[in-house]
Symmetry: C2
Subunit: 222 residues, 2 copies
């Protein structure tokens, strides 16, 4: 993500101070992607922005405030790119598929910078505090959204009645972790093909037989 990422269009009438805040966040997101959230310092941001440290402090009261704002901004962009557009798909399997496909696409675009949720999990897994709490709540929010979509797919009769949504979402998330690991650490470009085939097989193993789907539709039509 560079400072050319379009943020302005969704916030058309930013005042000067807000523009600076957004620009600081952009720079901080980029630095955190490169060096981790713990690598983020007010000094580095000030250098990058050609501002004084006190200028940065005027927008973010402390280093921790800035780190938390970076996590929240990352999450906002994730939702805008992955979650909200998927809601336009019909509820059930089409929406779950869209969420997964957009998530994978975002990962393949993020290979150079890495995913803050994944790198953050390792950075903060044994470092309690507000930043870990913030990261965790974002990761859990996304897991809940996936679970909700999977349960809707069961309810709609797209997936089997006895499908275990938690198990399905565990395996979806597992493959995304492997995609990130293989593409970014091993440099293995086959990972994208593997995740597509793995997801297809996973969904097939949970898919409702055509007969039960039709029965459900008949019931709904009554």
């Amino acid at each position: 993500m560079t400072s050319s990422t379009p943020v302005a269009p969704t916030r058309p009438a930013l005042r000067k101070g807000e523009q600076t805040r957004v620009a600081i966040l952009d720079a901080a997101l980029e630095l955190a992607s490169r060096d981790g959230l713990e690598g983020l310092t007010i000094g580095l941001i000030a250098d990058r922005m050609q501002m004084s440290k006190s200028g940065v402090f005027a927008h973010f009261g402390s280093r921790e405030d800035l780190q938390i704002a970076v996590v929240q901004e990352y999450h906002r962009r994730f939702e805008q790119e992955v979650f909200f557009p998927s809601l336009q798909e019909p509820r059930g399997l089409p929406r779950l598929n869209a969420m997964f496909a957009r998530w994978v696409t975002r990962h393949t675009q993020e290979i150079a910078s890495g995913c803050m949720y994944i790198s953050g999990a390792v950075e903060y897994d044994d470092r309690p505090g507000p930043i870990r709490d913030e990261l965790l709540s974002m990761v859990l929010a996304w897991r809940r959204a996936l679970l909700h979509a999977a349960r809707q797919a069961i309810k709609e009769g797209h997936l089997r009645d006895d499908s275990d949504a938690e198990q399905l979402v565990f395996e979806m998330r597992a493959m995304v972790l492997a995609l990130h690991h293989d593409a970014r650490f091993i440099g293995d470009t086959d990972a994208v093909e593997h995740i597509e085939r793995g997801y297809a097989r996973l969904i097939d193993s949970h898919r409702a037989p055509a007969s039960s789907r039709a029965r459900r539709e008949t019931q709904t039509a009554r």
Copy 2:
């Protein structure tokens, strides 16, 4: 892993210098598990060992040498715990199952300290150099061992002829990444159950039909 981990039995006649080297490695492994490989410094080790820095340097010429030795020692223990005992199982699916089961067990025991391969991948994914190279070669060695075992399981007729060993191993590794993530970052103890059910389903989807297995055994018996 504490300094009480039995290393001595496999090296019965250690000279004093070697004993010290092993003790330094023990302490370094513990520190690297807590703070990451990049958190490892000669100064910290010297403190922990109540030695002088030059005493540590006498055994490891540089911080980087020590970091690489830690990666190699971690790998040696991983092989001793996970890989070598699995080789006692019959070749094919029993051996692949044993490798996976021991790997999962090691992870559940490692929740407090974390897995160096996984945390190292995030720590070094954008940090080229000899430590990344060492970590990568260890991760690739384990992936090759899994692939080899999966291909043997196909050859032995335990898994289907048209099974894709690379795809199978990708999904195995994915679930281990998720186990580590969920148990360590989210603190979700259901992950162990999820990985067991996920692996059972994965293997079932690759399992050769009983008839082809029997045919293979007949051919072998001829």
